[in-house]
Symmetry: D2
Subunit: 260 residues, 4 copies
Amino acid sequence: MDVAPVLLKAGRKVIDLAGDFRLASPDAFAQHYGTPHTHPELLSQAVYGLSELNGDAVAKARLVANPGCYAASVILACAPLLKAKFAEPSGIIVDAKSGLTGAGRKAEVSTMFAEMNENLWAYKVNAHQHVPEIEQALGAFGGMSGSMCFVPHVVPVNRGILSTIYLRLSGGATWEQVDNAYRSFYQHAPFVRVRPQGQWPAVRDVAGTNYCDIAFTVDPAKRLLIVVAAIDNLLKGAAGQAVQNMNLMSGWPETTGLQA
Amino acid sequence: MDVAPVLLKAGRKVIDLAGDFRLASPDAFAQHYGTPHTHPELLSQAVYGLSELNGDAVAKARLVANPGCYAASVILACAPLLKAKFAEPSGIIVDAKSGLTGAGRKAEVSTMFAEMNENLWAYKVNAHQHVPEIEQALGAFGGMSGSMCFVPHVVPVNRGILSTIYLRLSGGATWEQVDNAYRSFYQHAPFVRVRPQGQWPAVRDVAGTNYCDIAFTVDPAKRLLIVVAAIDNLLKGAAGQAVQNMNLMSGWPETTGLQA
Amino acid sequence: MDVAPVLLKAGRKVIDLAGDFRLASPDAFAQHYGTPHTHPELLSQAVYGLSELNGDAVAKARLVANPGCYAASVILACAPLLKAKFAEPSGIIVDAKSGLTGAGRKAEVSTMFAEMNENLWAYKVNAHQHVPEIEQALGAFGGMSGSMCFVPHVVPVNRGILSTIYLRLSGGATWEQVDNAYRSFYQHAPFVRVRPQGQWPAVRDVAGTNYCDIAFTVDPAKRLLIVVAAIDNLLKGAAGQAVQNMNLMSGWPETTGLQA
Amino acid sequence: MDVAPVLLKAGRKVIDLAGDFRLASPDAFAQHYGTPHTHPELLSQAVYGLSELNGDAVAKARLVANPGCYAASVILACAPLLKAKFAEPSGIIVDAKSGLTGAGRKAEVSTMFAEMNENLWAYKVNAHQHVPEIEQALGAFGGMSGSMCFVPHVVPVNRGILSTIYLRLSGGATWEQVDNAYRSFYQHAPFVRVRPQGQWPAVRDVAGTNYCDIAFTVDPAKRLLIVVAAIDNLLKGAAGQAVQNMNLMSGWPETTGLQA
């Protein structure tokens, strides 16, 4: 929070991997991160760096806020549905599962191998700090203020997030229409892969890559859209997304360094 | 399906761990298990063997249908809420996570260590055969015909199921009221542990035991009840539940052999 | 080290699970544990509590030193061979593999899930503090002072030790003779299982039990005896062994509380 | 075995990842692989493709036998010691640990997740088919016919081999002399990393790479050299080694495609 202004003054561009510049409102920041923002004047110029949604703005930005790992998966999964008005913006439920690298590298008993191996649990149930940035990013497609339910779980893998998302079907979109909406939305997005019908994403398929894999089903009787999105929390959910932003900010091909 | 009648004719009591006698309707069985039932006359006398709901009927039964592993966790989590009318019976969403012993012991590439380690995925999305037995068992508390959404996931642990359940809050029940409903419902149930506020179940805590651990939160603004239930799929979800049923059928203490 | 004398003075019997009373020599203790012993007068009365070797002494002891986890597996594997003079006491090589519970419960980066999952390594190579207690315990069967080579490894499981031991064949013992030596030595030992030829121990088979599983092969051409021993480091390697000692010290059946 | 001759006749160069052309002697092949060789005439022209030992021959070869995964780690660890006469060629003991990808992709109960997770065991004790190719490759530095003891273990990781090797110290080489022997032997080898004193290899450090990490200790009192070598069994132990051979056979830089 205090390093970015120094770098900006020195004429550098900044991509922040922490959560300090993701929320536009200083009040929202204080509420969700538990401390006042020391540089609120920078919040309005920070661009939320999910390339697939804000690529043009990222390209021109001097300060980019790299998205949270959970947030990246949820926003990519929901944005096309909300834009096409195929899902209601309120009442979305996200059940997310993350590997242990998402918990950071500070040694704590709860993240020791012998505690976490053969174990899984829910945490920060309905109270995770990534929700406001998701609602802010998706707000462009219809208000959802305070209505998203998000429950993260920790599962015993090193890398990967699998977000299973339950949305209320709006209107009577068919599977094909939804598929078209996704493919149209991501037609120029090299890192989003919409999967064929019936092929559900596996964390293994995206681990070590910058891809976000997405699959979905439509249940008109239950008026539900169910979407599953998988990313590597360390790549598309963190460093890979940052490199993708750097590429855009530098005028390089978006995929530079991300296709090994 | 064909062994149970032979044993019954020989005067034996039967506890069936397969899914053959769980559904009361032969048509529903044929639809969800993909084959006609060869002994439909037995379906009406089979008792669904979730001891906490049907203990008296189990005690007198000659044929008990042991519940499915997922079903056991979901029914135990939902029954008290529906009975107390604190949750709507329709629109329930279940996001369940299971270890690999739930997949059986037939060697397949998808369940090999090198495929499943460092991996997780959703499967049978909104199409799992345990849903009808859940709806049937919970139907006593209000109709939910065909409205439950159930998405199972496989996660890389040996044992354990964690079901995260999203229900629509009905009326304005408080956390304390819901807690009372659970504790009252399970006051004589030795294997259900309702956890204190903020202590979410972990699979580790129930692995190797016949316990079902339950915790919940209430969000009046979002009109949601969120419940997490954990069981060992091989015990409360299978063999442990069967022993519990056997105890009831034999007039032994319910916990015999289940407290090691 | 300072609690045991207080309890002994109060007339209590003591089973010490730490390493403080395992070595008879205060000098050896100081050398291998890096600190002088504060109660050297107790070392001579402490009994090394591996029940299968010292059961009679344990039964009469007031102070029992519970063996180290690695040590228990190695001593049980080697004692019958050395007693029968089928293996040379010098030049023994032990390659041991342990799960993470053996590393204690202090949070450190090296034992975090994300560090240890998908990983294994050797540590304290040829320099582990369990070697002197092994040499002391096996010394009754022939001197091996300072000649044992012990290399422990950490592997990503919660529980279990697998020790693979390479001994020099002495004389020309056959597989059957060695098998007889083992079975004779352990004929009254309820927790040692000598496996049939070709059935090598697996950690899974002893996890959660107080058993030590042993298998071996004889290679006369290479003049080698190869033995594999598996235990649960938390049971036969720690608390289970302590209960077994307590049973002997209390005059109870040796298996009390250990057969669940 | 029958495809290689067809390709060779068609003028192609062949790198065989199976074990069919590793042993020079048809009799040895028949003995260790349990079937007669159908093209014994090719055995004499096949080059054993461990680039660090046979780089010049590989460069000119038309038929290269890619080494076995275990063999690669053992030969790289031992060759410098034997060449410098710092270790005796006979009486070498190898205790090797491998992840599950080394077991192939055929579905079997023993390699299912629920069988292998939380488990480890020894197999093919003193009877693995990689021993003859190790002895053949190291034979250039002194005969060891039939004297190597090799015990492989399977451990619950996806990728990686850790070989712990016990050799008899020959003469009185010091740690520094051994270190110099390793560094001199591998001065032009881009994929062998001799580690600083006290830094033991971890499988994690080589997983996903073509590196072989090696560390050792010298115990003059016990007359032992202890070496630990780590590789990724799928890369330096298989496909990566094959690419390295292809690079040499094609006149390309040895590291092409192997440094991502």
